[in-house]
């Protein structure tokens, strides 16, 4: 239950952040992004230590999502605090597209989870 909850939550939060106009900062909430990162990290740790093939794939998708989201967060922090011009639509677009990539990884993870569950039922 906990495992599935975090995987689905990671996906939904990420989707919520991702959806909207690509370059418009108004459509993308920083809190949502933060929650997505935190939940993704938790989901990753929950996947640690499973030696099966599916377990390894689960972990891989999570690591991919983490990597993309953290990259997006670093770009955001850099744009908001360190860059002279501040946030531009161009930078926002790259942040959101990175989170879009992470979202795909989340979806793969969720699909794996569903497949695994379906096999258990049989």
């Amino acid at each position: 239950m906990v495992f599935g909850f975090f995987i689905i939550l990671a996906m939904t939060l990420n989707f919520g952040f991702f959806i909207g106009d690509l370059a418009d900062p108004v459509h993308h909430n920083v809190y949502e992004m933060y929650a997505a990162i935190a939940v993704n990290l938790v989901a990753t740790v929950l996947k640690f230590g499973d030696r099966t093939q599916v377990g390894a794939l689960h972990l891989a998708t999570s690591l991919v999502a983490d990597l993309q989201l953290i990259a997006a967060a670093v770009i955001w922090a850099y744009a908001a605090h360190a860059l002279q011009g501040g946030m531009t639509p161009h930078i926002m677009a790259s942040i959101v597209s990175l989170s879009g990539g992470a979202f795909v990884a989340n979806v793969v993870s969720a699909v794996l989870l569903i497949i695994e569950t379906a096999q258990l039922r049989r």
Binding site: V30, Y31, Y34, A38, L41, V42, V45, L46, F48, G49, D50, R51, A73, W76, A77, A80, H81
Partner: protein
């Protein structure tokens, strides 16, 4: 690495989740609580600054309140986060340290290191199962001969001793049960250059399972097993073990040989000892009545061997039933009265064959005091007591562990040697003494090197090439390639042709392709012999005395030079 990593990751779940959770709560709180900037305007900490602040606070670095001084509401929250995150860090670090110290984790790491060390082996090696008295002596002996080995022992303390042993090569060691085929596979049973497996544990069934796994997983391996029971020995042979060594019977036989035909005993010792050991002088044991102390598994076989050689044996054993059954004297052999009762004064020799070194030594001392000039044979059980036995100046010291090691070496190093020694046993003692004298003459009191060669293109290309044109006598391989009239310090011990063994072949024996030769001699002789067997020009010089120029250019030049051709 994989299994160790997974084990560590699985156990690190809880501490990592605690860390992530505490960070997430702390950062979110920092962001949500409103603050004021330098000019008193409302200001909110960004996620970036919150992460920065929590990172240095949680790790107790504490740079201060950045980028603006905090409000009291923020400070209240920070007080809470300090306790939360610092405790989370301590918990996580403690847990990680605990994981790395954990015995099962360490074991997984050790097994992984072992697997990699075995995988990296680039020279032929043997797997030694059991690192006790015998196993350690065998690893030592192999190491001195430049042969690599891999050790498995069930006892981690004994496995640890490998690292303390003064070996020239790195010997990978695994603390594990040899009865599990996985452990044997880990030790390189299926490694392409693994040569063989030697099972030397105290447990016959463990040794049997080693033989079974080895022969089933990799039939090409040479397998040698130590075995104390005849029934298990038969099973080992059924699995195809190349040699089954019963230490008790072998030791008994050796003790009997040492007494009956010391020449053979010494010959075996010399040919199978570690190289560069000092040779021991031959001894001549008297024939007559012997007193044998200790009538256990060793004693029975020794007595049998002695009686077969025309000696009479009186037995002393502490166990009344055993002594009575054997028609001997019951009591402690260290007691002068018991020795007298066994007739020590009329005996020609005494054999101290109990399982205790100190008892054995005191038996010989007591016996010598009662009857000076007695021939003394002592069984030595522990390796560490060498100096004691040297100081006691007994006639013959026989070591069960060494006996097994020598038998293993004979089979492993030169299969032809084992055959030679078996054949030599049926020759007379005088024959053995003569050969010993010859060996002593060339080796200058050092243990000779033993090597075998096959007459083919791989081992001796020059000889194989030459054989296609003209016969090559064995003597050619024994002559010094630097001056052909002198002999190399090498003796040809045996020649195997189409399965038949020829002992001490004469120098004029013509070699044939496919012959196998067994040599013994000094390292110098062996190195010089390589010149003859591999270089056609050297071989031609040794056989004919004509020193032909070697290179293509020189050959052309010398052909055009009429004086040289003549």
């Amino acid at each position: 690495m994989n299994s160790a990593l997974f084990l560590a990751l699985r156990r690190m779940r809880a501490p990592l989740l605690t860390l992530i959770g505490s960070y997430a709560v702390s950062i979110l709180g920092m962001v949500l609580i409103p603050g004021v900037d330098g000019e008193g305007m409302p200001w909110r900490v960004s996620f970036f600054h919150a992460f920065y602040f929590i990172s240095y606070t949680a790790t107790t670095i504490g740079f201060g309140e950045l980028p603006n001084a905090f409000t009291d509401a923020q400070r209240l929250w920070i007080t809470f986060t300090i306790y939360l995150t610092v405790v989370a860090w301590f918990y996580a670090i403690g847990k990680i340290l605990q994981i790395t110290q954990d015995a099962s984790f360490q074991q997984v790491l050790a097994a992984e290191r072992f697997r990699r060390a075995v995988d990296r082996m680039r020279e032929p090696f043997y797997v030694i199962c059991g690192y006790g008295e015998t196993g350690s002596a065998l690893v030592d002996a192999l190491d001195q001969r430049g042969v690599r080995s891999v050790v498995i022992d069930i006892n981690p303390a004994r496995a640890g001793e490998v690292e303390l042993a003064a070996l020239q090569f790195d010997v990978p060691v695994l603390a594990g049960d040899v009865r599990q085929p996985d452990n044997l596979s880990l030790a390189g049973l299926r490694h392409p250059i693994c040569r063989g497996v030697v099972a030397l544990t105290n447990d016959d069934h463990a040794n049997l399972s080693v033989a079974a796994s080895a022969k089933l997983l990799n039939p090409a391996l040479t397998v040698i097993c130590r075995c104390e029971s005849d029934a298990v020995a038969a099973s080992m042979a059924a699995f195809g073990a190349d040699d089954v060594i019963d230490p008790f019977s072998l030791f008994g036989e050796h003790l009997a040989t040492a007494v009956r035909t010391p020449g053979h005993y010494l010959l075996r010792e010399w040919l199978t000892a570690a190289p560069d050991e000092t040779l021991r002088e031959p001894l001549f044991a008297p024939v007559g009545r012997w007193v044998l102390c200790g009538f256990g598994r060793f004693g029975v076989r020794t007595a049998r061997g002695l009686e077969a050689g025309g000696n009479a044996v009186t037995i002393i054993d502490a166990d009344a039933a055993v002594a009575e059954h054997a028609g001997g004297v019951c009591g402690s052999a260290t007691d002068a009265r018991v020795l007298e009762q066994a007739g020590i004064r009329e005996a020609v020799g005494v054999i101290a064959g109990t399982g205790d070194d100190v008892t054995n030594l005191s038996i010989t001392q007591m016996a010598r005091r009662l009857a000076p000039g007695l021939f003394t044979v002592v069984r030595r059980n522990q390796r560490g007591s060498t100096s004691l036995f040297e100081a006691a100046a007994v006639s013959v010291v026989v070591q069960p562990a060494a006996v097994v090691v020598h038998a293993c070496l004979a089979t492993l190093m030169a299969p032809l040697l084992a055959r030679f020694l078996r054949a030599a046993a049926s020759e007379s003692n005088a024959w053995a003494n003569e050969l010993l004298a010859r060996i002593a003459g060339i080796t200058e009191e050092r243990v000779p090197e033993i090597w075998s060669l096959r007459v083919d293109h791989a081992h001796m290309p020059a000889v194989a090439d030459s054989l296609e044109r003209r016969p090559v006598p064995l003597g050619g391989l024994l002559a010094d390639p630097q001056s052909r009239l002198e002999d190399l310090p090498v003796i040809a011990l045996a020649l195997e042709r189409e399965g038949a063994l020829q002992m001490l072949p004469a120098a004029d024996t013509a070699l044939e392709p496919g012959d196998r030769l067994l040599f013994c001699g000094r390292g110098r002789g062996r190195r010089r012999q390589v010149l003859t067997t591999r270089n056609g020009n050297v071989l031609r010089y040794v056989l004919t005395g004509v020193d032909l120029p070697g290179g293509w250019m020189w050959r052309r030049l010398s052909r055009s030079d009429p004086t040289h051709q003549a």
